[in-house]
Amino acid sequence: MSEQSKGDLSLVALTKSFATFTAVHPLDLTIPQGSFFALLGPSGCGKTTTLRMIAGLEEPTGGRIRIGDSDITETKAYQRNVNTVFQSYALFPHMSVLDNVMFGLRRRGDKDAKAKANEVLELVQLGQVANKKPTQLSGGMQQRVALARALVNRPDVLLLDEPLGALDLKLRRQMQIELKRIQQEVGLTFIHVTHDQEEAMTMADSIAVMNAGRMEQLGDPATLYEQPRSTFVANFLGQSNLLRARVNPGGTDEMVTVRAHDVDLEVSREHLPDGVGDVWLGVRPEKLRLGESGGPNHLRGIVRDVSFSGVATQYSVEMPWGQELIVIQQNDGSNRATLGEAVTVSWAAQHGFALDASQDAEAGAELVDDHG
């Protein structure tokens, strides 16, 4: 374990302020060696700035950066064993693909530069174009050259700044799988910056969700999705139905009841933050069922919208107090409803989560851009 954690990257109260405003508020984060880590957040939340500080391209205004036991905060970019895949690729246009990939090895006087470069070009399936100029390649190929150029140096940490942002949807999906495969093959620490929550969730072992220069929550994709700790995370990672509720006193060790619009509903105690009275009770649309499910949580409403999308159908169910709940049902033949029908919506207590009601229920919802 001590061997394992030798190359962990730790950020300690890392801060960056520009003249008029703070792009990254004191950030504490430890990224285990060899993990595929995603930094997820809407545009402008400080992801690139964080990455550039790790690379040494931006000077922090406070805090420390460590890799294992060595503090690299004061070292220059060219002295750090950290490499970046730039969003714009930043390939050297006057050099061949092979020379681009060999650039880092040559700076370190590596005797096997050519063999290593060719090997990595094979890994990213670009062996055939080694002698071409970057401008002669397609966007997807350039992206892989940029990846190869960074990978070949076997850095302690590989930084990827929205590496797939410029690719079309199909190629992006393909490259997500490809990147994941390569990371598992080489075993290096990858920090992948993205504003695409689906991309982060499919690829990363753990995700740090950032918002307005602060880290909202850190966790593995399933935990972030099932147990968001803020309305921002609940809305930015997928959709959430949030009901205004008040915690009833008492309850058991496992369960707590909350009162939402004169209905008592149950939620697992572990999904309730300590010491709050007013909460948003959240349930994911696919956790809701049309019809009774025998559990304690059910609400009655009227179907106002039905949209069929093949695998599933999305319903909008209006509650007596006017709020519309989104319900997603698998098209497995059961639980159909028609427009205008009065229905019961139910869910299991452990599928709910409660969030402090002092937060904006809409936080993060408007920032999600759909890539389909």
Binding site: A55, G56, L57, K76, A77, Y78, Q79, V82, N83, T84, F86, S88, A90, L91, F92, P93, H94, S96, F103, G104, R107, R108, Q128, V129, A130, N131, K132, K133, T135, Q136, R149, A150, N153
Partner: protein, 264 residues
């Protein structure tokens, strides 16, 4: 008829090309003339005399040598200075940047007669003797502007991310400059250097103000000789200079097209 219509652009291009090249062709042709009398205005008889003895006219090769020497030194100095200025202006924000940007244009905008005479005044005041040194200083001064303009245009198109990428890959600032920045700026620098050389080699007005009897440049020689009849050797040198320029430009074209079209 429609054939003519279709090739109208080709005809126009050929006509323009002929218009531009006629003087050079005439010069080349008359370099093989054996003129009757002192004026080389009528083709008299074919002769290679001037080609076999290019220094045959008195003082011509001394003036050519001086012009080449001044041209090379001035263009090298102006290129070095101008490149540094262009990078400073293109890359950094500093006090007086916009003023410098404006002042750089002044030598290009000032009439040469004005600049020549004011330089002479300045040199007299400072006690710089007329002659080769004064000419060199003057040439470097006006060449710098052109180099700055050529290099700055190139620097503006360089992606600063490329230098960050080089640093990210372990290149220190010197290596980054030598391996990434300089090669990418090279076409602009080369263009600036060539421009500086031809401007210096060609200059008559400013040079004339600051020359001494012992520093007769080639343009001054030709001007002086034209009153008495230009020796055929001048036509020979003119033809050679034209061919050299042609070779340099064509080589440049070849290199850049090969760069862009290199196939595995």
């Amino acid at each position: 008829m429609s054939w003519i219509k279709r090739h109208l652009i080709t005809f126009a291009a050929i006509a323009v090309l002929i218009y531009m090249l006629v003087p050079n062709v005439i010069v080349a042709a008359f370099s093989f003339n054996d003129p009757k009398g002192k004026y080389n205005y009528n083709f008299n008889e074919f002769s290679t005399a001037a080609w076999t003895n290019p220094c045959g006219a008195q003082g011509i090769c001394e003036s050519l040598g001086l012009s080449l020497q001044i041209g090379v030194i001035a263009s090298l100095a102006a290129t070095a200075l101008g490149t540094m200025i262009a990078f400073a202006l293109g890359r950094y924000r500093f006090r007086g940047r916009s003023a410098t940007n404006l002042l750089i244009f002044m030598p290009m905008a000032t009439p040469e007669v004005v600049m020549g005479s004011s330089l002479l005044t300045l040199f007299l005041m400072l006690g710089v003797p007329s002659g080769r040194t004064a000419i060199l200083i003057a040439h470097i001064m006006f060449c710098v502007s052109f180099v700055v303009v050529a290099v700055k245009a190139r620097v503006a198109t360089l992606d600063p991310k490329l230098e960050e990428a080089a640093a990210d890959l372990g290149a220190n600032p010197t290596q980054t400059f030598m391996r990434v920045t300089l090669p990418l700026a090279a076409p602009g620098i080369a263009a600036g250097a060539l421009l500086a050389f031809s401007l210096s080699f060609d200059d008559y007005i400013i040079t004339n103000f600051n020359a001494s009897p012992s520093s007769i440049t080639f343009p001054m020689y030709v001007w002086g000789a034209s009153a008495r009849g230009v020796p055929v050797q001048v036509y020979v040198i003119g033809t050679v200079m034209f061919l050299l320029a042609l070779i340099v430009v064509m080589t440049g074209q070849l290199i850049s097209s090969r760069r862009n079209r290199q196939v595995a």
